[in-house]
């Protein structure tokens, strides 16, 4: 199937003639009339009087239909439900019909993703034009394909590209459409495969609520940041009305967010004069690597966003999100941590991190509320040191709590509220870092936990395993820095700057929560990260004592993802993105 075209069957040449329509209506009279009308339009018509039967037909042969027309009121299934299902599973355009034209009904139809809502009695001229919906979708699909290219690809795809462009820095950053395009060309075949099945895509406006985003991040973390792909995420999320396209675009945003966070972190840390700032931003995984590494890390982080289809992003996001919500917190922490890691662990770290935290926060505020959150959170993260108290372990069990705490964190920006959650979660995660260093060390297989993180982003960190890794790195970095820099971080968690109640959440809780948020406990990665951090922060004193390992779990990128969903108000998506992706 070529982009923008219908499948290559002969009937497509005569498009719109030959359009394959599935009509679903319990009213037999209308079914007959519509069949006749559609045939007059030279469409290929299949009729069904039951929604369940229609779904069955659609599932049997996904490629057999181009468009579905369905009545709203049906005995066996609500028309809106059918609409959602079709949009989600088959991603076909669906037209609703009803004799009732009440605005609320029409609105509901549109909300559920209907591409049109026809009133009975239906006129021939209305049916003659339904092909436009199919065509439009295909066009969007093609366009999305292009823009999402990097992201829609399976992680491998990205990985591949990533490695190719590794020296390019953010080659894969989402913003690098050129590279994306390049890759696109190169991977056209992959893309086709990926998209072919999705033509035409459904473009429903999705509101990415916090919950939804959390699910998203969770899914991303579960899959593995570098292996992430819209389809996988969609499957994991299990949100019936969500389409692959929604996920794909969200993923892209997430990646951007993460990369932005990374950059911000880098900037912040650098501004604070701490080398580690570089790393922090990149940190996602570059914790260990201080500046130089950072840079790369950052890139990686960003890259990871870009390529990992999302896994990276997610991971990054997880952290970044955390920053935002939670992520914000973590972000700063990362920076801080970096600073710590690279520089003087405590004073500097704190300073830098704090600075970065604060700074990012401020700067973030403007750009990304989330970021700010991070900043705020960072301080809180610092308070992680408190966390290390081991709450992490406990926290793990109460991931939920983290969220709560997050919520409590009064992100200093308005946006931060969401972020706070994230940050909180991050904070929690960060705090979790309280994982004892030993643990961290143990966990961290490689010192460069950050590196690991980075790699996580880039390639599903082996240690972490999937998204979580990405996340953990951030969080870890954050945590680490916090911990190392300030044992008192834990108390800071409460985000003094922001007022996050991180304190309340004792890192562990946070962490746990965050982790839990993510849904999955990346446990492994987090722990590692934590460990890593711990290692790094030897000087820091991270009190991780936590049970970092838990942290890793918490860091489940998913957590962050989970949290960020708060931010993601569809309306504020852009801002949220920023914050979330405050990298």
């Amino acid at each position: 199937m070529d982009n923008g075209c219908f499948s290559s069957s002969p009937r497509h040449d005569a498009f719109p003639a030959g359009l394959r329509v599935l009509v679903v209506d319990d009213d037999l009279t209308w079914l007959r009339i519509l069949e006749k009308m559609l045939k007059k339009c030279l469409y290929e018509v299949t009729t069904c009087c039951l929604a369940t039967e229609a779904l069955k037909k659609l599932r049997e042969r996904k490629e057999a239909y181009d468009i579905v027309i369905s009545d709203v009121n049906m005995p066996d299934m609500d028309g809106f439900k059918l609409l959602e299902q079709v949009g989600l599973e088959m991603d076909l355009p669906v037209i609703m019909m009803s004799v009732d034209g009440e605005t609320s009904r029409v609105m509901k139809g549109v909300q559920h993703g209907a591409c049109d809502y026809l009133l009975k009695p239906i006129r021939m001229k209305e049916l003659r034009n339904i092909w436009q919906h199919v065509f439009r979708k295909r066009m969007h699909e093609a366009r999305d394909f292009e823009s999402h290219e990097g992201f829609d690809f399976e992680g491998i795809h990205l990985m591949r590209n990533g490695s190719d462009h590794s020296d390019d820095g953010n080659l894969f950053a989402v913003e690098e459409t050129t590279s994306i395009k390049k890759r696109k060309d190169a991977d056209n075949k992959h893309d086709d495969k990926e998209f072919g099945d999705h033509f035409p895509t459904k473009k429903a406006r999705v509101v990415w609520s916090v919950d939804l985003h959390q699910k998203f991040v969770k899914a991303v973390n579960q899959i593995g940041f570098d292996k992430v792909g819209p389809k996988k995420i969609l499957d994991l999320m299990n949100v019936p009305w969500l389409t692959r396209e929604n996920v794909a675009s969200h993923l892209q945003k997430y990646r951007l967010y993460l990369s932005r966070l990374q950059k911000e972190n880098d900037q912040k840390s650098s501004s604070s004069g701490i080398k580690h700032s570089d790393s922090p931003s990149k940190d996602l995984g570059s914790f260990s690597f201080l500046n130089t590494a950072n840079k790369q890390q950052n890139d990686i982080a960003t890259d990871s966003f870009s390529y990992s289809d999302g896994t990276l992003l997610i991971q990054m996001d997880a952290t970044s999100y955390e920053g935002d919500l939670k992520g914000i917190v973590s972000e700063p922490t990362t920076e801080k941590i970096r600073a710590s890691t690279s520089e003087i662990p405590d004073p500097k770290v704190q300073k830098s991190s704090q600075k970065s935290l604060n700074k990012p926060f401020t700067s973030v505020e403007s750009s990304e509320a989330n970021h700010a959150v991070f900043d705020c959170t960072i301080p809180t993260e610092y308070s992680w040191s408190e966390f290390p108290k081991g709450p992490l372990k406990e926290e793990q069990k109460t991931p939920v709590q983290l969220e709560d705490s997050l919520c409590q964190l009064p992100l200093h920006g308005t946006q931060h509220h969401i972020q706070i959650d994230q940050s909180q979660s991050i904070a929690s995660i960060n705090s979790n870092p309280s994982i004892t260093e030993e643990e961290v060390a143990a966990k961290l297989e490689t010192k460069p936990l950050y590196a690991g993180y980075e790699s996580d982003y880039v390639n599903p960190v082996s240690s972490i395993g999937s998204a979580v890794e990405a996340f953990p790195s951030q969080s870890k970095s954050l945590m680490v820095s916090d911990q190392s820099s300030e044992p008192t971080f834990t108390s800071n968690l409460s985000l003094k700057t922001q007022g996050f109640n991180l304190d309340c959440i004792s890192d562990l809780d946070f962490y746990q929560r965050n982790l839990l948020l993510g849904g999955e406990v990346a446990s492994a990665p987090l722990d590692e990260d934590l460990n890593f951090f711990l290692l790094q922060s030897e000087c820091y004193n991270m009190n991780f004592g936590l049970q970092n390992i838990d942290m890793s779990e918490y860091y489940d990128p998913r957590l962050t993802a989970e949290v960020p969903s708060h931010f993601y108000d569809s309306a504020d998506y852009s801002s949220v993105d920023q914050s979330l992706f405050i990298a």
């Binding site: 319990d26 009213d27 037999l28 007959r32 009695p121």
Partner: protein, 151 residues
């Protein structure tokens, strides 16, 4: 009867159905769908409609009998379906009565519902009879007749 005359009669009958508000645009749409592949399309549709809708009429009747209290939601749902079916053939007056009935349902006016339903049944029966006569005449007049638009 001479063919032309028959055709004119059919046309006149159809025109009066429109003029008296029994039928609306939809009926014309149905006629336009009629072609060589389906030469009796309109009649098929009308037959289908009456078969389906009579079931709905019975259901509504039954629901109205369960008086204490009347289940307005159920009645509204049934009437919604009935309205959809009536719209398929362009039964204008019947549809208007459906709307009235649904309005009474919305306001919980049992008395209004009963009255409205009685009126609806009358309209429903009247149109049915007229259409039956129409199709009979049309068949007698010959296949060409239905292809002509009365307007």
């Amino acid at each position: 009867m001479d063919r032309n005359q028959s055709r004119r009669q059919v046309a006149a009958m159809k025109q009066s159905l429109f003029d008296q508000g029994f039928l609306d645009e939809q009926f014309i749409q149905l006629e336009e769908l009629q072609d060589d592949a389906n030469p009796n399309f309109v009649e098929e549709i009308v037959t289908l409609h009456y078969r389906d809708s009579s079931r709905l009429i019975s259901s509504i009747e039954q629901a109205l009998k369960e008086r204490n209290p009347l289940d307005f939601n159920k009645l509204d749902t049934l009437m919604h379906q009935f309205k959809g079916s009536s719209s398929s053939i362009g039964a204008k007056k019947v549809k208007a009565e459906c709307n009235l009935f649904r309005e009474y349902c919305r306001t919980g006016n049992a008395e209004g519902c009963m009255r409205s339903f009685q009126q609806l049944k009358r309209e429903y029966a009247a149109l049915r009879k007229k259409l039956e006569a129409y199709f009979q005449l049309a068949r007698q007049a010959g296949p060409q007749e239905t292809a002509c638009r009365s307007k």
